[in-house]
């Protein structure tokens, strides 16, 4: 106890220092017609801890570089314009806050990562309530830690994957907070590579040409209550472990190669209370192991889940499967995953003992989905009379579908959320 | 008016018509006679274009009937067994026929409709009619459009004596108007005083075609039935 109270004592001292510092800090005003018409000039003049207030106006200053801890505050969204040539705002110091700017027209390049706002090797940077328009990369962090990116709106004009870049791009960063941003018109909405211990929360990522969220080699991250809507290929989470996904919505990711969520080489992760709505494939799983997929809703997808034979020891429990064309598709006959106690709207069994659980197991893989998986050309016969006859007969006398892919305790009623 | 040249028709192995050539002219009244299955009806159907000959051709007013269908507006046809849409009433059938053949503006000849008193049963459906009544309807339709040529296949079969007389009277009347009339009948006594020529068919072949006088002369018989009977007897031997 004694050691803890000592710790608190030091913390209080530190806080007092931090709070009193800004009080001594100076405030610089930048406005197009004022004494200080240049943001860069103000930054150069300011001392660490100062505040720079930027009035409404258009500032074309090539690249503005922040090299000391400052608070940059825009009034009525002053425009920082990169004239389609430059990186607009480069943050090369820790403890910088950027708020209330409109950053637009960054340069485009096929060999440089040009961004609207870029954070280099810094900590405790906050980027909040900015608007980014027509930028190549939107907000880019490298070797950053404990940064907060919140309440920003990013909108660009990506058409193809080749000529576009990501909205929020984090590379080799740690403990990031990405909260409440809106991202559209980029290649990937949010891109994580080698990012750990971070939280992605309440973002809205829609209409990006590739993925709404793209995750690579990023362990122990958590993403919560985000919405991914109508992106080119949905959300991809790859080569990571310890990922937690809660309460996200994956919606209307339709297209030949689109998924709600692509899980590739993921292990020891958790998915709860997510909603998959009208995706070509709700979850596509490949090389995924020890995942717990619990209490999610799969509604009106082409396939609710496609579980490749390379997946093992996953548990799919207590989910609702409603209105999907195919509930589960798989490419192998060996199944090492557990389906248990889910609700399947296609279940035709009975519940004689009235315990809410069906008395006969449900087989979520239909014969035709197996056929279509092995031989895609048979999609031509989709919903034909013959196919429905085949499926019905397979239901009565199972033969071709995987023996142990079944839900032993299918629920009679959907779970209420 | 109508010329058939080497008309041949086979139904599978059965030869219904073999090399039949014949010329019929306006004002003639021809009896087409022969035993059952001799090809009479097939020949008539060929004339009407209902059966297409395998070889040979038929012309009507110098027009090959294969490429023509309008010539049928000059023909009134009374089939052996009148078959009509079962659900239609007599009135509807008559109206339909009038409707279909409306292009000719010639006045309609409704004498037979009156004479057979069809007016009273106009609203009866075809399926409820007796064989005789159907024959009356067929006859009425055949004469209705005042055609230049009449083809009557067994016209008196199934008719009561009174109606037979009415029909014969009508045929006579048309004959005097100079129309070409082609009749087949088994009841030869019916034909005696109507016809001017006789065509005799057997086994799909036309055995002879001559005038009634000539026939009587050749056989030395007075009546048509006797003349034909003697020919049949001769053939049988």
């Amino acid at each position: 106890m004694k050691s803890i109270s000592k710790y608190y004592h030091w913390l209080t001292c530190a806080l007092i220092v931090m709070i009193t510092l800004p009080a001594q800090a100076k405030t610089w005003r930048v406005s197009p017609k004022g004494k200080l018409p240049s943001v860069q000039q103000a930054i150069d003049l300011a001392s660490p801890g100062d505040t720079i207030v930027v009035e409404h106006g258009i500032y074309k200053e090539k690249t503005i570089t922040v090299t000391k801890p400052l608070y940059l505050l825009g009034i009525n969204y002053p425009v920082l314009d990169g004239e389609r040539k430059h990186e607009v705002l480069a943050i090369k110091s820790s403890r910088v806050t950027v708020e209330g700017f409109l950053v637009q027209h960054s340069g485009y390049s096929s060999y440089n990562d040009i961004a609207g706002i870029r954070v280099y090797n810094s900590r405790l940077v906050t980027i909040k309530n900015n608007k980014l328009f027509d930028t190549f990369f939107g907000i880019y962090t490298q070797h950053a830690a404990n940064c907060t990116i919140t309440g920003n709106e990013l909108q660009s004009k990506a058409v193809t994957e080749l000529n576009s870049a990501n909205g929020i791009h984090c590379w080799k960063s740690d403990s990031m907070h990405i909260v409440g941003n809106k991202i559209s018109g980029h290649r990937d909405g949010i891109y994580f590579e080698f990012v750990t211990n971070s939280l992605i929360e309440k973002n809205y990522s829609a209409g990006n040409v590739r993925y709404g969220l793209h995750f690579m080699f990023s362990h122990d991250d958590k993403y919560v209550e985000n919405e991914f809507f109508n992106n080119g290929a949905g959300v991809a989470v790859m080569f990571s472990r310890g990922v937690t996904m809660i309460g996200n919505t994956f919606r209307e990711n339709w297209g030949g190669a689109a998924y709600g969520l692509l899980l590739k080489e993921i292990s020891d992760s958790r998915m709860e209370h997510n909603r998959f709505l009208k995706n070509t494939v709700g979850i596509f799983m490949e090389g995924t192991s020890r995942m717990k997929i619990v209490s999610n809703d799969f509604d009106n997808n082409g396939w609710a889940m496609r579980v490749q034979a390379s997946c093992s020891e996953n548990e799919i429990v207590g989910n609702n499967f409603r209105g999907n064309t195919f509930d589960v598709g798989t490419n192998g006959s060996l199944v090492l995953n557990t389906f248990n106690g889910n609700y399947w709207d296609k279940y035709e069994g009975y519940d004689l003992d009235r315990n809410g659980t069906g008395d006969v197991p449900y087989r979520p893989v239909s014969l035709y989905s197996m056929i279509a998986e092995r031989n895609p050309a048979t999609m031509m016969l989709f919903r034909s009379f013959m196919v429905s006859l085949l499926d019905k007969s397979e239901k009565i006398i199972p033969g071709a579908t995987p023996e142990n892919l079944k839900d032993e305790r299918p629920q009679m009623r959907p779970f209420k959320r | 008016m109508i010329i058939a040249t080497s008309v041949t028709k086979k139904f599978g192995r059965l030869t219904a018509l073999e090399n039949v050539s014949v010329t019929c002219n306006k004002g003639q009244s021809i009896a087409l006679i022969g035993p059952n299955g001799s090809g009479k009806t097939t020949f008539i159907k060929c004339l009407l274009g209902m059966v297409v000959p395998d070889s040979g051709f038929i012309t009507f007013n110098q027009q090959n009937i294969i490429h023509d269908w309008k010539y049928r507006s000059h023909i009134g046809y009374m089939p052996q067994v009148g078959r009509y849409p079962e659900n239609m009433t007599i009135a509807q059938v008559l109206d339909m026929m009038k409707d279909i053949r409306r292009e000719q503006k010639a006045a309609l000849d409704e004498e037979l409709i009156e004479a057979f008193q069809l007016g009273k049963i106009m609203n009866k459906r075809m399926r409820t009619l007796s064989g005789g009544t159907r024959q009356k309807v067929s006859a009425a339709i055949a004469f209705l459009f005042n055609p230049d040529m009449l083809i009557l296949d067994e016209p008196t079969a199934g008719l009561d004596p009174l109606s037979t007389e009415i029909l014969k009277e009508k045929i006579r009347k048309e004959k005097h108007k100079g129309k070409l009339i082609l009749i087949t009948s088994h009841i030869l006594s019916d034909l005696d005083d109507i016809i001017t020529e006789v065509m005799y068919m057997q086994d799909g072949q036309l055995r002879f075609h001559k005038s009634l006088e000539q026939l009587k002369e050749d056989t030395g018989e007075k009546g048509l039935s006797r003349a034909i009977a003697s020919i049949m007897k001769a053939n049988a031997q």
């Binding site: 339709w254 297209g255 030949g256 190669a257 689109a258 009208k278 070509t280 494939v281 082409g302 209105g323 064309t325 056929i371 279509a372 092995r374 031989n375 895609p376 050309a377 048979t378 999609m379 031509m380 016969l381 989709f382 919903r383 034909s384 009379f385 013959m386 196919v387 429905s388 006859l389 | 139904f11 159907k45 009407l48 274009g49 209902m50 059966v51 297409v52 269908w69 309008k70 010539y71 049928r72 507006s73 023909i75 046809y77 089939p79 078959r83 009509y84 849409p85 079962e86 659900n87 239609m88 339909m96 026929m97 409707d99 279909i100 053949r101 292009e103």
Partner: protein, 255 residues
């Protein structure tokens, strides 16, 4: 020709089966849309009706009608009427009455509950399939004079188009699994109007992506305007060819 069409239609309208068919479709369509809260699910249920029941009724009714109106045909053939126009009139009368029945039974509910591209496509395909199977029925009835045999042929043809053909396709697909079959698939789908109709409806049902997920070529072809036009032309051929052959046979037929 118009007059004969008029008599054919009047004759069919007197037929109770036609009224029954209309009511049957209407009851199915209304109950499907009434019970399912979600109209797109209703469309899926109706899909089977359009692809199975509509061809069946169209082909059987037309065949029976042709055999039953032998008298009518015989009567008219001896009259100054072109055989070709007589036959075309029978076809037109049959096709338009069956289409009317389909339109009232299925089309109106579709227009009320799903007034979008899906509904219109389904309506269009239903009408096309009706006309196609009427044409096929006319051809089938030209093969034999025997009514029982003729109906038998019709049922076989229906069976072939709704089931056997797909079975053969599935068999071929697995026999030649190692070859790229996507292009062949498009050609195969042309060989069966029921399959073609089903694919065109499904593509409107947002399942295009699902098809694309497995075979992109298929979606690209039928998804494009050009492919759509080709598909519709093929459907038209499915009307014209059987009709043309049946007209030729009828022109030579002995009555």
């Amino acid at each position: 020709m118009k007059k004969i069409i008029k008599y054919v239609i009047l004759d069919i309208l007197r037929n109770r089966i036609m009224i029954g068919y209309t009511l049957f479709l209407l009851i199915i369509a209304l109950s499907v849309f009434g019970l399912e809260g979600n109209p797109s699910k209703g469309v899926l249920s109706l899909l089977n009706v359009v692809l199975i029941i509509v061809p069946l009724i169209s082909i059987i009714f037309s065949t029976i009608y042709v055999y039953n109106s032998a008298e009518f045909i015989e009567l008219l053939v001896s009259q100054p009427i072109k055989r070709r126009s007589l036959w075309m009139s029978i076809f037109t009368g049959l096709a338009s009455s069956l289409c009317t029945a389909f339109f009232i039974g299925c089309g109106i509910p579709l227009l009320i509950y799903v007034p979008d591209a899906t509904g219109f496509t389904m309506l269009g395909m239903g009408l096309l399939i009706t006309v196609i199977f009427t044409a096929i029925a006319l051809l089938a009835s030209m093969f034999t004079r025997d009514k029982a045999k003729g109906i038998g042929i019709s049922i076989l043809l229906w069976f072939y188009f709704t089931l056997i053909f797909d079975g053969i396709i599935l068999f071929l697909l697995f026999q030649f699994m190692d070859y790229p079959l996507e292009k062949a698939m498009i050609a195969f789908s042309f060989m069966n109007p029921v399959d073609l109709g089903r694919i065109l409806i499904l593509l409107k049902l947002d399942i295009s992506a699902l098809m694309g997920a497995t075979s992109a070529l298929f979606r690209d072809f039928f998804g494009s305007g050009q492919g759509m036009i080709i598909a519709l032309l093929i459907m038209a051929l499915w009307i014209i060819l059987p009709l043309w052959f049946s007209v030729r046979r009828f022109a030579q037929k002995d009555l």
